[in-house]
Every structure is written in structure tokens, then in C-alpha cells.
Amino acid sequence: MREFSLSLGGATVAGATTLIFVNVAAAPGPNLEFLRYWVGQSANATSAQQRINLATKASAFPTLVSTLATPVKLKPSDPNASVITAATSGAVSTCGLNASAEGAGTQTIVWEDAFNVLNGWLHVPTPAETRVMPAGLTSALELYFPVTPGTTTNWSAGLVFREV
């Protein structure tokens, strides 16, 4: 199995915003199976609830930060990097972090949840519930804040996917 993590740290979010964005490769590239997702705030003293969404997004995609957005191999001896690479555009086979503009594409919420910011949010689907985004799909997966958090600084987030 070839697993990769993609994470964001110490970020200031602009408001209701995409935290992590992954667009699958064109067919016949590998499908992506998403194993876990997390969101937390590295410094905060105020208990508050925050909504979080998993959503799919069709073109036009968000404008993203590509710095430090390269998926990291969980198996360092894996000779190959992920087919997903960092980019600001959200184009096919790319990923990015902390969107500065959301893009006009249709967003479809696939998982709605909420959490306390002091505890963070960790979503680990059981194997039968993992989300698989097949290669060639015309929409991407995103981790999304549907509302502006009470404190917009020091957010961290991430996900783990594997290429299958």
C-alpha cells in the first residue's frame, strides 16, 4: 500500500474556507482512498464549537496555497512520489491548502460534522466507510469550513490517502 499525508499547520484562515483540497488524477491513474482527516487549533484558550464539512467540488476550483502542500510518503522507502502534486490551481492530479478564493464550481457536501476547537476533530472512517475518489472523476475532495471560526489563527488540518 502507498499512503501519503497532506497537512496544514499554523494557518490563518480567511473565513469560510477550504483547508485541504485534493483533485484526483486522470484515468488510468490510481484511485485515491481517504483513510483519515483531522482539524485542530494549535493555540486557543476559548472553548467553541466549529462546523466542518467534507465536500466534493467541481470546476471552477479554489485558488490555493501550494507551499508545503506536497503529499508526504508515509513509507519513506517507497521509491515513488505521489501522483498528486502541489499546485495553486486545484487542477487535475494536484492538491493545495488554505484557499484564498473558493472558485465558482458546484460544491456538494458529503459529510457534515462539528467539533470543539479545544479538542480538534479526527475522522477515521471504518474501512467499509472510507471515501474513494476514482481516477478521472471530474470533481475533487475538500476539507471545508462552512462558517468562519471564532478564532481564525493557528489552524492545522490534514488527511491521509492511499493510492489504490
Binding site: 499525508s5 497537512s7 479545544l118 479538542n119 480538534g120 479526527l122 477515521v124 471504518t126 474501512p127
Partner: protein, 122 residues
Amino acid sequence: MSVDNVVVPQFVVNRSKGSDDAHLLIGKALGQVIRRENITESYVCCPPACYITDDDGAIFTMGFDYIEYPFKYEFMVLRNDKPTGQFAERIEYTRRSGGSGIVKLFGNDGVRVFSRNKSCFI
């Protein structure tokens, strides 16, 4: 007494245990330094919580190493980003009113409790 300790009437505030301030708890999780003013509320489970801040200010979370069972995953439990050597499906933090908290792991290897004296799960 260490110069890091502050003497105030009636008691000493010990700053040596992961804290740079009498009321700030500092730990690490998933590569981030986590700062909290309070330990986690009583009865919090990870997941769905991402972090648990224990009575020493240490942060427990799930790491990236995992074991896949037919209908569940178990992940390596991290304490301040260091592997504890234990795989678990769930980390649970409970605290009685006025008492100290207990960190427990649940998984295929049964229930394990974190020992603050030994700094390991037993």
C-alpha cells in the same frame, strides 16, 4: 529550587513539566506545538476529538502507523508526537470531579491505562 519555579504565597508553581507559564500547557501533536490553558474536559474520546491534553499537559493523538482489521483501523498512539508503542481504536480521557484524569486505550489488545509515574501504558 529551580530558577524556573516561581514562589508565590503558600505554594510553588512548577514550570518544569511542559509549561512556560503557570496556566499554559504545551504539548506536541502531528508536528504542531499545541498550547492550551486547561486540560481536556472529562470524558473526551479520540476520535472524534483530535487531541487529548492530559494532566501533565501532554497531548495524546493517533499517529500514522496503523493496523487494518476487517471493520476498523487501529492507529499508533502518540504522546507529544512520540510513539507509545500501543495501537488502539480509541483513546479515552476521564476525570472525576476534583480528581486527576485517566487516559485509557481501547482496542484489540484490550483496555490499557496510562501510568503517569511510569510514563507508559500498562
